[in-house]
Symmetry: C2
Subunit: 704 residues, 2 copies
């Protein structure tokens, strides 16, 4: 990649070098600040690791005149010629000075390995700020600090603590915030013969945020499968937006730790109480087509599945086994992942039975029984026939028992998969590997050829489940709908909770239907308004202190005549002195809650849930970021546990789901278009076959 | 164990030998029928495997005069002296003859390895029946057929296909129905240095059912931790009853495959439709304190956790790590298992900080940071201090990074745990192992010393979750309540659905409250009855064809006077000509569904759920086997997703949970005491703070 660039003349300035993350991953000339040739020193480890870099590596150190026989420069400023990337391993207090030198020198980027910054407390945070300020003064972009470094495995460029020359030739790029765990994930990945494209340790993320990394990798052809191991995601919205553009083309797999600590946000209102950042974040990932892995291992497993094989185009899996028990266990686990192990067609079963022993089953799982002597013949044959059958979307041979994990079977399966790939058959093959350690070299043989092997049915099913979800998501994630404009003439709203009338008008501006209502000051007025609306009506107490009207008897339903309304309104006015009464035509339908919030990390989001016990006791709600497309709103509603209540379960009326989806979209649009609206709560919306109407709403405007 | 029995004189009859499974696991003299010394033959593999048996092994074969230099007998009948156990490896068609010989000879038990029986179809099933009949004629108990054999690792007795001399000295006994997968689980267990007490391959289970195996193992002191890998459990009830007696003393871990195929039972009525065998079976396991593992690997992991370490006495876990990211991931996973990673007390944190490096965290996870040179000192010290602190119930050191998985750290942790065990500290230690393959010998070093090592946080958290659940369950599972007697004078009920009056009387006999009701033939009669009951009342159409009355408008509520009732009753009688009208005092409360069913595998069981959308749309129901103890009924209700709806969530009334538990117990008692009742449905029961009352019920009596 650098062949025509890798030997710039020393001292001769080069016109246009790489900038930003390109300077990090594809530098022409690298300086190692803190270089050393003394074993045991970090500077020596990096010097050794950088030795395979095809470009020039310049040792910078004030402690020695030479490093490994090469003349060393005391500072970056002393180096002749342009430097694209500085790798910094000096102690923290010296780092700001190094970055000042780098800025003065015009270095494009620095990878700061050194720890002792924000992760150690306020003093370290100040040092970090000083370092970043120095870097930015000269346009130096910074990776880290407190990280284990970066690799571009294809160059190769190993500017990391992980020893050895990277293998290259793989498509998996690992970006990790966790240092030690990220290194372990990487090292154990190599153990399983995983090939990486790039490795990026984000450390304290003092300069470059995750969304910028994702943007770079989206455009990087070598990075075909993107893994992010994250501890925090402060730029959640930008990451979401980048991911939406990425996932139709390449998988983005995120393992986000700290889930259990999430959700502690204080409850201000109904919708707010049900939110919690964790839920919004997970919803945003799903909406962007991101594969959310629970752990680092799961992240790597699905990356291995997707990088070397086509993603499954559907949920149908063929299982090939020599052990009924293992096949059934795997089928159970696949079902729990939402996948199917369908019975094969009669014709295909006939065809397979002709090749199988007498008591074998060709139904699926295809169980050849323990015919040890025929494993090397049957496994590859079955893999190929099933993949070419058109009846399944993925094939999982279970390699179990000594004769099934021997070299001949592994070679046979490897070659069968190679033929499938050569012929463009779009059906992936993953091996479920249940074998003693001694057989490991045969799993490696498969993995090296791009046939992923997952130990035990658990890992196989989990990886396949994620792969299949990605196979679907990459077609579902489409360009976002443009955000709608602010309604013409809408003035800046004043902070506080909007009056129901003003709130209703705002909703109306976004075509959100609200039930016909009149706000009244007196009981007589209420009764007169009711006559105008038509009976039966509902009367509700209006007072700023009544957040949940129904909790304190502030709602009277089924008022059928003038006298009813007058009496009820009079009591309601007594209930909250100084308040008013809202009279509404009484509507009916299935209660749905639709809300809008602004998440601190992910921005405007909508929430939908079924009313009553489902939302209140079970918290059965679903979130999505706004603005939403109509198809996204529809899928959001379908995700509810109680969705069947909207489609006519047990004699209920099937509601107009498109109308409900329109309300959900409109709430999102309102949040996007009117940024001073902090929170919005339609509770309930009554849904019927004829449409949806909000009968109670609350619009909260934030202070400026 | 057999030291004084292992050399009976040939030909001299022994007075009282072992019988049943004792003859299988502790035989004095074993015959191998089908013995051979020709490599590649099954008879040779078993001959070799049996060679370590300290008692006598007698070769039986018609194909050779000697086996391995020992004189062979043509048939069992030709052998002199008593035989406790025959191991049979001849082809299926010859097996019935062998068992006839065994019966004639007085052999106590046979392990039939041979396949070709019921697993192959109707012809094989006939052969299997013939074999079992022959065996039973002479009181021969049979393991298998179609199994990989048995082991008593302590003797050792290896009458199985798994080559090599068993290690012995472990407490894990593995009973497996799956042959090949069971063998793989066993072999991979040995790979991880797991020590077994006994191995039992059940094969086709033609004679000995799982409950009998469990009963034997319950009394076997060598078997401390019992694992069952099951594909079917036809004697579910007996297994449940044995398990209830076992789990307070030793863990029973079951992996039951075929879950995804379960639940296909046809829906006959409301309760029936919501049941499905899978749900009842899982409920029975939980009620008996059985640990249900999803997979064979999970089963072995929790067995490893429980066999060598005391079970956790509570949910509090200390995590020790050198990597923040791994600690957070593990904490997330532990939270998902219902466990806690509590912040340590200020005093303990102070004490720990005094020993830890500057930027370490002593909060929990205790993160020592990557101070490689101090790992061998800090890990053992922290393990011991935390286990002795009284602040946690389990300790998980995360061994990650090269210097944390080296021999010195492993030895240090091993010795720290040995000190804890020697001092009787009841806090288990499990290692979370994240290391390249090359470090494996150090994990083995720990495992061999009884400190289980689980690869990656996933497996660690899962095993610990199960272990903690067992730690609680072993105190919760108490002797069952004796089944109540049939009510004195109750005649045998006639098949069909009981009349509401008769049904109400039957419920009354078990103190199940029902709402005051009168059955009427005419509208006038209904109106008169209503006056007697007091208004408001409810009127319901009664007709055998109306199973769900409310589905077809057959229920009228809120009838407030004589005229109301007369009009409603008249319409209801028109709705279902030939029917009657049930008039009830109108009750209110939270709707609960309580049902009783007879599960084909598990017998009488009760179901409880919250009424309305929770049960109808979400299927939020819980099952338990009858009879139940009051505390079990209470926990059953607490397991409902929507339980909070019963305890006063969001302004609701908190109901009398003890009264509800009494109804649940009584429904179970009725099922047990009146065996002709096939199914019982109280839907709804109205629950209030003042008690519970059934307002609609349906009792179905089975034909004889």
């Amino acid at each position: 990649m650098l062949t025509d660039l890798d030997s710039p003349e020393q001292g001769e300035p080069v016109a246009a070098g790489p900038v930003g993350l390109a300077a990090v991953f594809e530098p022409r000339r690298v300086a190692l600040v803190g270089a050393s040739d003394q074993p045991g020193k970090m500077g020596e480890l990096f010097w050794r690791n950088l030795s395979s870099f095809p470009g020039e590596v310049i040792p910078v150190t004030a402690s020695a005149a030479t490093v490994d026989g090469r003349p060393a420069y005391p500072t970056l400023s002393d180096v002749d010629g342009e430097i694209d990337l500085a790798v910094v391993v000096v102690p923290a207090p010296a780092v700001p000075g190094v970055l000042r030198d780098a800025a003065a020198k015009g270095v494009r980027a620095a990878v700061v390995i050194s720890g002792g910054f924000a992760e150690t407390g306020p003093e370290g945070a100040r040092l970090q700020d000083e370092m970043i300020a120095a870097a930015h003064d000269g346009g130096v972009r910074v990776v880290g600090p407190n990280c284990f470094g970066i690799q571009n495995c294809d160059l190769p460029l190993n500017a990391s603590m992980a020893a050895g020359e990277p293998l290259g030739g793989g498509g998996i790029t690992l970006a990790t915030q966790s240092g030690a765990y990220g290194m372990a994930i990487y090292a154990l990945g190599l153990d399983e013969r995983t090939r990486f494209a790039k490795v990026y340790a984000a450390g304290n993320k003092a300069d470059i945020a995750d969304a910028e990394v994702l943007r770079y990798l989206r455009a990087d052809p070598a990075s075909r499968t993107l893994c992010f191991f994250l501890e925090s995601l402060p730029d959640g919205r930008a990451f979401y937006e980048e991911a939406r553009l990425t996932t139709p083309h390449k998988p983005v797999i995120v393992a986000k730790t700290g889930r259990s600590a999430a959700g502690a946000r204080a409850a201000l209102s109904h919708t707010g109480a049900l939110a919690g950042r964790g839920a919004v974040g997970r919803a945003a990932f799903a909406q962007a087509g991101i594969i959310e892995a629970r752990t680092g291992l799961e992240m790597m497993d699905v990356a291995r599945a997707l990088d070397a094989q086509p993603p499954p185009a559907g949920p149908r899996v063929a299982v090939i086994t020599n052990s009924g028990g293992t096949g059934v266990e795997l089928a159970d686990l696949l079902a729990e992942e939402g996948l199917e192990v369908p019975e094969l067609s009669a014709a295909l079963q006939r065809e397979l039975r002709a090749c199988l022993p007498a008591f074998a089953s060709a139904r699926n799982p295809v169980d050849m029984t323990p015919v040890w002597t025929r494993f090397a013949e049957l496994y590859p044959m079955l893999v190929e026939r099933l993949a070419r059958s058109g009846e399944v979307d993925a094939v999982v041979p279970v390699l179990l028992q000594r004769s099934a994990v021997d070299e001949q079977v592994a070679i046979g399966v490897r070659d069968a998969v190679a033929r499938l790939r050569a012929d463009g058959v779009p059906v992936p093959v993953y091996v479920c590997w249940v074998a003693p350690r001694a057989a490991r070299p045969n799993a490696d043989l498969l993995a090296e050829a791009g046939v992923p092997c997952f130990d035990w049915p658990e890992r196989s099913a989990r990886a396949l489940g994620h792969a299949a979800r990605y196979g679907r998501a990459r077609f579902e994630v489409r360009p976002p709908r443009p955000a709608p404009p602010r309604p013409a003439g809408l003035p800046l709203l004043a902070p506080g909770v909007l009056d129901p009338g003003a709130g209703g008008a705002l909703l109306g501006a976004f075509d959100i239907p609200t039930v016909e209502s009149v706000i009244c000051e007196t009981a007589d007025g209420a009764a007169a308004a009711a006559v105008g609306l038509g009976f039966p009506v509902v009367a509700k107490a209006l007072h700023p202190e009544l957040v949940h009207k129904s909790d304190r008897g502030g709602v009277r339903v089924g008022l059928v005549d003038h006298g009813d309304v007058q009496a009820a309104a009079s009591e309601l006015l007594d209930l909250a002195p100084g308040g008013r009464v809202l009279v509404q035509r009484q509507a009916s339908g299935i209660e749905v809650v639709v809300g809008g919030i602004r998440d601190p990390q992910f921005g405007p989001a909508v929430m939908v849930g079924l009313g009553g016990v489902l939302v209140e006791v079970l918290g059965d709600v679903a979130f999505a970021l706004a603005p939403l497309r109509a198809d996204e709103a529809r899928r959001l509603v379908e995700r509810l546990q109680g969705f069947a209540a909207l489609t006519g379960a047990r004699g209920r009326e099937a509601v107009d789901l498109d109308a409900l989806a329109r309300v959900v979209c409109a709430v999102g649009d309102l949040l996007v278009a009117v940024p001073e609206v902090a929170e919005l709560d339609l509770n309930p919306v009554l849904a019927t076959a004829a449409g949806c109407v909000a009968v109670d709403w609350r619009v909260m405007v934030s202070g400026t």
